[in-house]
């Protein structure tokens, strides 16, 4: 947006999801969809349309078809969830059913289909969608802005992965346990994931998220070197050994992160979050659980998350997890470390050498 010349102060985001937001702005704009991360978008739309100090001109709600991914090897596709992709049109309907709320408020609803896994295509798609609302917009200008966007995304990913590595190094130095969350990106939204991991953090465990695990070659070689030597994998970022139907971006990442969590000694517990009736997550429940548990790592899942935080049951569950974590973590770290043959790059001053196989297949 900034690269297109839009003042960053003129870009507003809807807030974190809350039940209040849904009640105040989204009530009765109902969607016939059981997926809460889709349903809650009504509240976000309503907040942007009715809840801004200064009226917005454009409501940009991209229908993201595919996602960039760091994975490679046997990864067929990196598509977004089709339900979430279609959500902008679905939600829009709730604001146009009886009266055109967008027209009444003088707001343009812009919902381009965007293929983020294919940057050149994404630039074309965005140009087509934005040229009407940004008169005079040229394809070259859009391409440059898209490049800027991908650069920002790469920087963002790198910086977060670096922080994850720091957390792991801190754990490795002090033989301290941490928790890995396997979930979809929207579960980081406090209104969708209900901050369940925060309750565990309060017991004194750092929290890592599967999407942002470090992928530095030294660490990858340490974790997956044997698999590559024995040709089970072509790359540490491959999931062919566990997930053949690899077409969904977020699903692929969850499976990959489960493998990493199973190997990292300081990840003594994996928490799975999934929303009510998630058809994308359902087939992965057993594989993810088994990958994690066969390594001796504790595994707990919070399924069927919906609009309301089931506070009583979360409290009991969190206390249960904390009990077992406290009792079992030291043993889990020891057992998992014994399986590693090479010195750990997180504590050893090993060089961050090249990956054993090229990641250029991506």
């Amino acid at each position: 947006m900034t690269a297109l010349g839009i003042d960053p102060r003129h870009v507003v985001f809807s807030g974190d999801t809350t039940e209040e937001q849904g009640r105040q702005w989204g009530r009765g704009r109902g969607v016939v969809d059981c997926c809460y991360p889709v349903k809650c978008m009504s509240g976000h739309y309503g907040e942007l349309i009715f809840g801004q100090k200064r009226k917005i001109d454009i409501l940009l709600s991209p229908m993201i078809r595919s996602l960039p991914s760091v994975l490679n090897g046997h990864v067929a596709k990196s598509l977004a969830c089709p339900r979430v992709m279609a959500a902008p049109e679905n939600i829009k309907a709730g604001f146009m059913k009886e009266r055109d709320v967008f027209a009444e408020a003088g707001i343009r609803h812009v919902a381009p289909l965007v293929s983020l896994a294919e940057p050149p295509l994404a630039a074309k798609e965005l140009h087509l969608a934005l040229r009407d609302v940004l008169p005079g917009l040229r394809p070259a200008e859009t391409r440059k802005a898209v490049e800027a966007g991908f650069a920002a995304l790469a920087d963002f990913g790198d910086s977060i992965r670096a922080r994850s590595r720091e957390v792991l190094a801190w754990c490795a130095r002090g033989e301290r346990p941490c928790i890995l969350v396997l979930a979809r990106p929207y579960h980081m939204d406090p209104g969708i994931g209900h901050e369940i991991e925060v309750d565990l953090q309060a017991y004194g465990y750092p929290i890592l998220w599967g999407q942002y695990l470090p992928i530095d070659p030294d660490l990858m070689n340490w974790l997956f070197g044997d698999d590559i030597t024995s040709e089970v994998l072509r790359s540490p970022l491959d999931i062919r050994d566990v997930w053949p139907s690899s077409y969904s971006g977020n699903t692929n990442e969850i499976l990959w992160a489960a493998k990493v969590g199973a190997r990292l000694p300081w990840v003594t517990c994996v928490i799975r979050l999934t929303s009510y009736e998630c058809g994308m997550d359902q087939p992965t429940f057993t594989p993810v659980q088994q990958i994690v548990e066969r390594s001796g790592t504790l595994f707990f899942s919070f399924q069927d998350l919906d609009a309301t935080k089931p506070a009583g049951s979360v409290k009991i569950r969190v206390e249960t997890i904390a009990y077992y974590l406290e009792r079992a973590s030291a043993d889990i770290i020891r057992t998992k470390k014994e399986r590693m043959t090479a010195p750990c790059p997180l504590v050893e001053a090993a060089s961050r050498g090249k990956l054993q196989s090229s990641a250029s297949e991506a």
Partner: protein
């Protein structure tokens, strides 16, 4: 020719008879589950009073109860929404939204102009009591409000309280809490009306805006003045919010409740019959219906029933041999066992485990060699300090002096840990798992059915990997069984004996407890006996526990060794049903009952106390005398009222003198150093935090932990929505 429209609903029968476009006869009656008898009485009266003639006139039926009746009198069946819509279209072409609330269902119809005619969008729900007439009446009965008074109670201007709109049984529980808190019944009833309208608008309109004009139909909408007011209030608010264009008419006339609101489905039947669609609706008289009432329904009963919990004496003997080898038919309500007895070996301490639940508190004493020496219980008196005193007094009287360690579990563990000086506070899932794994180290699943709750714990790697707790719906718990047994005057101790005597049982439907109650009345009327109904209720319990309350369809996936515990599993009829249900799903399942079914939580806690003692740390236990002498004062006033939500629970602060306690100098009810506070009377965990001031302290502590132990998700949130300059 005369045309009859007969609406056989879940609670009433309504009928009209029309001749030459004029209503010649109409009536409605509550049928008290005697649907066929009420229909027969109506038909005989119509024949006598208005000349209804077999072989000449037409009759059309609608309503949930008419399915088996209409073939008996030659009538034709019309789906109820179709019938209501036909009447509305004929008499109210200007109406675009209809709500019809029945005894056990609710429907909405949206009419929209479409081409030359009008299109209909229909939504209906009949699976759950939330939002239906029964929902209101059940609670009103509990509050002992006469039907006439209920009809006149108002909504406008009343203070509203939060009442669960989802489940009638929970609404009743909420209403009880409100009554205890001193809320006037008028406000409770107004809150019920609010809950019904909310449930209709929130779930049944599916995002469509009900626009004027609106027609309210069905008994509850007609009879309850306050419900009409609630509808008007909410509809007018929605219209203003959504800027719906409202016709320039008297606002009162935009939401109408016709005087004959009860009869719309019947009127619709007549409309449909009168348009020539009446073929096949020729009234054939009452002979078959009389036969059905006299004989047919009993034959039907025999056909419908399924076989009893046991098919023969041999099966019962084998079952008892396996599950009650000592010949005792244990049942809930029986006093918990007094333990295996015996005493602690000389020089060794005793280990105490207590389970402070919401309704009862239990304690057990173990010897270091894990023998159960004593168990006791106290039913909750609403003051956890008194409950604790009661339990520890029992232990003391039993002669235990040297205590190695004390562990607490259950809801009260956080409140009482410091007060009694417990060494361990253990979450209930872990306590139950410890108790089960102690006896059955290879257990896969624990199913704990108590009086008021159902817990299923799935074990993997020796941990509670998953658990289900029924929190949305009261279906499947033991209190319901107890209630029915009480109604039949059967002591709980002999429940199983009665249930095993039944040779065949009616098929009760799984699910909503409110509807289960009316289904029982219905089955009873068909001639099923108390024994048979009790057996059937035990038989349906596993379905309610596993499928309805815990949503576990695939039992095979959770394991093969099942441990049954909790007070309800002292009832062998329930155990038999559980065994049949589980082996039906998992043929090689091994099903065992915990030897101390009702006290498993306390035993698990005692085992944790044993761990603590074995670890070698000296116990923090304050001693029996100190607990007996506990000095405390209670405060219940405006300052203790909880303001976290609109329930405004009247809490009680119990301040207990505990040496070295920090006190609460910042509180609105200050507690000095050396005093610890226990908060009770709250209906949810939020109320345990005193006020916004304490919340800030709690948050500050959490923030500190968060700084020390980072969450990568926080970093993502902070950075992703940060304004940045483009790098190109």
């Amino acid at each position: 020719m005369k045309v009859v429209g007969m609406d056989v609903g879940s609670t009433t029968v309504k009928a009209i008879l029309v001749e030459d476009g004029l209503i010649r006869w109409q009536d409605y009656q509550r049928h008290n589950t005697r649907q066929a008898e009420t229909v027969l009485a109506f038909l005989l009266r119509m024949e006598a009073e208005s000349g209804l003639a077999p072989g000449a006139d037409l009759i059309l039926f609608t309503g949930s109860g008419s399915g088996f009746i209409h073939p008996l009198v030659g009538g034709k069946f019309v789906q109820e929404v179709v019938a209501v819509a036909a009447a509305v279209e004929k008499f109210h072409p200007e109406v675009s939204f209809v709500s019809e609330i029945g005894g056990e269902d609710m429907k909405t119809i949206f009419f929209a102009p479409s081409g030359a005619g009008r299109s209909k969008q229909v939504y209906m729900q009949s699976a759950c009591s939330g939002g239906t007439g029964t929902f209101i009446e059940k609670t009103a009965r509990k509050l002992q409000i006469a039907p006439d008074a209920l009809a006149e109670m108002t909504y406008q201007g009343r203070t509203l309280h939060k009442i669960s709109s989802k489940c009638g049984i929970f609404a009743e529980a909420d209403a009880n809490t409100l009554v205890k808190g001193g809320v006037p019944v008028e406000e409770i009833i107004a809150s019920l009306f609010e809950a019904v309208v909310h449930q209709n608008l929130a779930t049944l309109t599916k995002g469509n805006t009900p626009s004027p004009e609106v027609l309210l139909l069905g008994g509850p909408n007609l009879f309850f003045k306050g419900l009409q007011e609630a509808w008007r209030y909410h509809l007018e608010r929605i219209w203003a919010e959504r800027r719906v264009s409202v016709p320039d008419k008297d606002p009162g006339s935009l939401v109408r409740v016709p005087a004959d609101a009860l009869y719309y489905a019947s009127i619709g039947c007549v409309e449909i019959g009168g348009t020539g669609a009446g073929t096949g609706a020729l009234y054939q008289g009452t002979d078959k219906l009389r036969w059905w009432i006299g004989e047919g329904q009993h034959a039907q009963k025999a056909k419908e029933g399924t076989s009893g919990l046991v098919s023969n004496d041999g099966e019962l003997a084998r079952f008892l041999e396996r599950y009650a080898p000592d010949g005792r038919r244990r049942t809930p309500g029986a006093k918990p066992e007094q333990g295996e007895g015996g005493s602690v070996p000389t020089g060794q301490p005793a280990l105490i485990g207590c389970d402070f639940g919401s309704t009862t508190a239990k304690a057990v004493v173990l010897a270091p060699d894990k023998r159960l020496l004593f168990s006791g219980y106290a039913s909750s008196k609403g003051n956890p300090i008194e409950d604790a005193r009661d339990l520890f007094r029992q232990i003391h009287r039993a002669g235990f002096r040297n205590i190695g360690a004390v562990a607490l579990t259950g809801y009260g563990k956080d409140l009482l840990k410091d007060i009694v000086g417990a060494d361990v506070g253990i979450v209930e899932t872990v306590a139950h798992a410890r108790a089960a794994l102690h006896v059955f180290p290879d257990a896969d699943v624990i199913c704990d059915v108590g009086g008021c709750d159902v817990k299923v714990m799935i074990l993997r790697q020796g941990t509670v990997a998953d658990f289900r707790l029924n929190s949305q719906c009261s279906s499947g718990n033991g209190a319901f069984l107890q209630g029915v047994a009480e109604r039949y005057g059967v002591p709980l101790e002999s429940y199983a004996e009665h249930a095993f005597a039944a040779k065949s049982v009616p098929a009760l439907a799984m699910g909503c407890g409110v509807f289960l109650q009316s289904d029982i009345v219905n089955q009873q009327r068909k001639g099923w006996s108390a024994d048979e109904i009790m057996a059937s209720l035990a038989a349906v319990l596993p379905l309610n526990v596993w499928v309805y309350a815990c949503q576990l369809q695939n039992l095979r996936a959770v394991g093969r060794k099942f441990v049954l515990q909790g007070g309800t599993h002292l009832n062998l009829a329930v155990v038999k049903a559980q065994v049949d249900f589980i082996t039906g799903k998992v043929p090689d399942a091994e099903i065992v009952i915990h030897p101390y079914s009702g006290e498993a939580g306390a035993i698990g806690a005692a085992l944790c106390a044993l761990d603590a003692w074995q670890a070698g740390a000296p116990s923090r236990f304050r001693g029996f005398e100190a607990i007996e002498r506990l000095n405390y004062k209670t405060t219940t006033d405006d300052r203790t009222t909880c303001h976290w939500c609109s329930c405004n629970c009247k809490r009680t602060f119990i301040d207990v003198e505990v040496p070295h306690s920090a006190g609460r100098p910042w509180s609105r009810v200050p507690a000095q150093a050396g005093w610890a506070r226990v908060i009770t009377g709250n209906s949810c965990p939020k109320g345990l935090v005193e006020d916004a001031g304490e919340m800030r302290l709690v948050k500050a502590r959490m923030e500190e932990a968060k700084r020390e132990y980072p969450n990568v998700g926080d970093m993502v949130r902070a950075q992703a929505f940060r304004r940045v300059k483009a790098t190109v």
